[in-house]
Every structure is written in structure tokens, then in C-alpha cells.
Symmetry: C2
Subunit: 150 residues, 2 copies
DNA sequence: TATTGTTATACTCTATAACTATA
DNA sequence: TATAGTTATAGAGTATAACAATA
């Protein structure tokens, strides 16, 4: 019966993943952000102004796509395109005040959400869950690395 | 420091979610399936031939979208459209042999993947992880239900 | 020559609205 | 009148390829 236990656990993780994604998506939509655009804004918030090339690499998406995402974020007031100080080919994508405020709110909301989600669990229970989570993540990354080599 | 613990746990869950989705997507792509199309095929596998209306409700997507997804699945040989025996407005979407084979392979792969992911964990560790997972899922569903009422 | 970002083109998933054929 | 599915239209995310300006 081990096999079905494992499969059941995986199904539960996937179910959680779906529910969380829905929740995140709804939260972002309330700010007028899509998941992809939020990903960009998030990167800018943590690392400061970046060229589109850098954003493409950070987000793992084509340069063409970054053009579109930045267009949309400029149109909705989250970022601006500034000239790069030394490289005239490049543009620096920079958060506006609105973009910074939105990100700060998102950070706060994420903390509140995490609190709602975990604060009712007994500490040892959370501890055990978090530990298992680290195990699973480590195993998964190992599997991915092995698959890459193959 | 509780707050950052909670946030850290949430971040880890989200990280796991992203990695698993990548993995699933890659696996499906190997069969020529996208996540949305696989969702349809999955439903057909578990519940048998269905009308497009039923599929739309099951998958939670517009009727228009089902037309497109079924078109694509017909074109790639996973399903066929059959006349409904009693309602001439409706069509019954039915898995082909290829569709059934693909689904059986996916079921097997999912089991193998779950085994790879969890079999290296000590049983008590997995037990604790699965227990915590149930807690989190229950809390999340409760939160969603409360948000719906509001 | 190589790189940055854009335009051109195309595919997938998603939605609403209008319309056809049937209940 | 209501329902099943299609066509029409639109927007978001994704990709590759060709091209301009600049390194």
C-alpha cells in the first residue's frame, strides 16, 4: 500500500498548489497585476532597476515577451523605461511610486496570509511539516539536476 | 520571529508548487499534451464519455474554450466527437485508444514520480509531512469558504 | 561581430456575445 | 423559451526569426 500512499501525498501537494495559485492570482488581480507582470515587478522590487535583457534572464522568458510585459506595466503605471546611463542600446526598467506601493502591500499581504495559514498549527506540527517540505524540495531539485545531465 | 517563519514556510510551499508544475508540464509535453488538454483527457479517463457542456462545468472553463480544446485533441488524435444518442444538439467526447494509452502511461508515471519523491523519506517524517499538509489544506479551504461568503 | 530591444508572425488559453440547431 | 455548441472578436502569455541601433 506504500505506492498509493506516495501517490496520495503527491496529489495533495498538487491540490494545495492549485488552490494557492488561485489565491495568489486573485490577490494580484486586485492590484491590476497578472502573475507574469507581478513576477517582473517582484524582481525589480528586490534587485532594483534592471535592463530588459536582465529581466528576461531573471524571469526565464524571451526578450520579445519582456517587451510586451514592460509595455503593459508602463501602460498601467507600475514601471517606467529610463535610458541606460552608459549603454545606449539598453533601457532601465524602474519601479514607479505606484509600483513600489503595490509591492509593499503584496509583501504585507503575503505575511498576513502565511499567518492565517500556519498560525493555527501546533508548533511541533508546523516544524515537522516544514522539515518534510525541505526534504521534498531537496529531493526534487536533485531529480531535476539528474534529469538535466541525462 | 514567528512571522518570518510562517512566511518562509509559505515561500517554500510556493517554490515547491512552481517546481512541480514545471515537472508536470514537461511530462505532459512529452505526450503532446498541454496542461489544459490533459485536464480534459483526465476527466474523460475517470468519468467516461461526456458532453462538451459537462466538460466545461467539470474543468471550470467557458463553452467556447471547450470547443477549442476538443478541436485540438481531435486534431492530435486523443479524442473523437461522437453523436449523442438521445440529444441531437450535443456531442459525446470520447477517448481514442491513443488517449487511453497516454492516460494509463501518465498514471504510471505519476506513481513512479511520487515514489521517487517520497520513498527516501523516513516513514515518520512522511507521516508528519502528510499530516501537516492535510492541516494546511483544511485551513486554506476554510479561508476560501469564508472569503466566498464575505 | 555581438548584443539590446523592437517588429512581424504564430500558437495556446482564456472570456463574452451573437447565432444556429435542437429540446 | 432554454440549452448545446459554434463563429466572431478580443486580450494575455509564450515562442522564433528578422532587423535596427549601438557596442
Amino acid at each position: 500500500m506504500r505506492l498509493t500512499d506516495y501517490t496520495h501525498a503527491l496529489d495533495r501537494v498538487l491540490e494545495l498548489s492549485v488552490l494557492l495559485n488561485e489565491d495568489m492570482g486573485d490577490g494580484l488581480a486586485a492590484y491590476g497585476l497578472t502573475p507574469s507582470r507581478a513576477h517582473l515587478v517582484w524582481d525589480l522590487h528586490h534587485r532594483g532597476p534592471r535592463t530588459q535583457r536582465e529581466l528576461a534572464d531573471a524571469v526565464g522568458v524571451s526578450a520579445r515577451n519582456i517587451t510586451g510585459l514592460v509595455d503593459a506595466l508602463v501602460a498601467t503605471g507600475f514601471v517606467t523605461r529610463e535610458p541606460h546611463p552608459t549603454d545606449r542600446r539598453a533601457t532601465l526598467v524602474t519601479l514607479t511610486a505606484q509600483g513600489t506601493e503595490a509591492t509593499n502591500s503584496l509583501v504585507r499581504e503575503r505575511e498576513e496570509f502565511a499567518h492565517l495559514l500556519f498560525a493555527t498549527m501546533p508548533p511541533e506540527r508546523l516544524e515537522a511539516f516544514a522539515g518534510g517540505l525541505e526534504d521534498v524540495l531537496a529531493t526534487l531539485k536533485q531529480l531535476k539536476a539528474a534529469a538535466q545531465t541525462r
